[in-house]
Symmetry: C2
Subunit: 227 residues, 2 copies
């Protein structure tokens, strides 16, 4: 009599998780640490990268830019003379409002992974769906502009929970807003207790050194965790 | 011999379009004009409504609030003493990043349609997906905050094309930003030539009278079109 051994394959039907693992294996093989950068539209992701990736000490960085349409951000970042690839969700991916693991995988051949220590994946501007799709990253950063108001952590809790670092951007505008940054931080603490945050301004440079240090330490932390 | 006549039913498989038509028929039967209000998170939709719906001359207005989680905006608008219903996409709708016709339909029993001239549906904050789902509305307004930058019409063209009115909000902050509003308007003209726009500030009240007039005229325009 034949005995059939049934092995339960967890997540077997979750294509995104399968492809995210394949991405991760590629990243690990090339020794590149990967950050998924998320925010609402216009929160300042690209400008923060322009600041923080410029002269990142001892780290060879690259960027994968995700947008529905256009290559405006990739064009800006290419001025840093680092490898940048543009991924448009509008052409070929039905105008998706987020990056998923398969889209990221399709773009990897455009990047010299073996020559990078750190890859930043700048997601499509959206406070909902990007949080639902892992793409093979080691860490997730979200940017929240103070101009968006104090209530965003409570209204978009999944996004604020799905990250290891929250950048509160555009703090130079606080004197001109009716926004209480302590209340914003209290709401963040409510949905993601203890999460690391930094008050930054891509415009004035406030807090950018702290962000640069955090980014520069990721490749070492990933290597230490893998060893 | 039987002859079978095959009638092609357009959009028969598009459940959203079918339900949007049903919503529209309900709105028409009750004589209520409907506006779908869309923007990125934190662009100022609710605060503009607080301003514009207060003392809207001769128009009985109500609001359907769409959010992933919470009822913060509905609570704020209820202070205007108008009918307000809250629709959460997080509970029961899988945390959807937009409202669709079926979600709106599920919320209609919570609103006294027969007592309204104008219903404003405040969509989930998102510059991508809400533009893809008609919900039975007569007109679509989108709000773009100047803090989001000049490039948003080019990066999210579907949203900027899918509306009859674009509100450029937070213009009181322009002196404190590196944003050229003429360039923003030029990009808007590129993706949606001739679309009506207004420069507004929910904080200072600039442009709110013009918005209030536009909203007050919608019920009459809808009735005239139906006659």
């Amino acid at each position: 009599m034949h005995r059939t051994r049934v092995r339960v394959v967890e997540d077997a039907l979750d294509a995104n998780a399968t492809i995210a693992r394949a991405n991760r294996e590629d990243f690990d093989r090339h020794g590149v640490a990967v950050v998924n950068l998320m925010s609402a539209p216009g929160a300042g992701k690209t400008r923060l990268l322009e600041r923080a990736l410029d002269e990142l000490p001892g780290v060879r960085a690259g960027v994968l830019e995700g947008d529905v349409a256009g290559s405006f951000d990739a064009d800006r970042l290419s001025l840093l003379h680092i490898p940048v690839a543009q991924l448009n969700t509008g052409a070929g991916f039905g105008g998706e409002c987020h990056l998923d693991a398969n889209m990221v995988r399709s773009a990897l051949p455009a990047l010299p992974l073996g020559e990078l220590d750190l890859l930043v994946i700048e997601n499509v501007g959206n406070l909902v769906c990007p949080a639902e799709f892992r793409v093979g990253e080691d860490a997730r950063i979200m940017v929240c502009s103070v101009t968006e108001g104090e209530d965003k952590p409570l209204k978009y809790p999944l996004m604020f929970r799905a990250c290891e670092l929250v950048l509160i951007n555009k703090v130079d505008l606080l004197p001109h807003l009716d926004v209480d940054v302590d209340r914003l931080l209290g709401n963040l603490e409510t949905v993601n207790p203890g999460v690391r945050h930094m008050l930054v301004s891509a415009r004035t440079g406030e807090g950018v050194d702290e962000l640069r240090d955090w980014l520069a330490e990721i490749p070492g932390r990933v290597r230490a965790a893998a060893a």
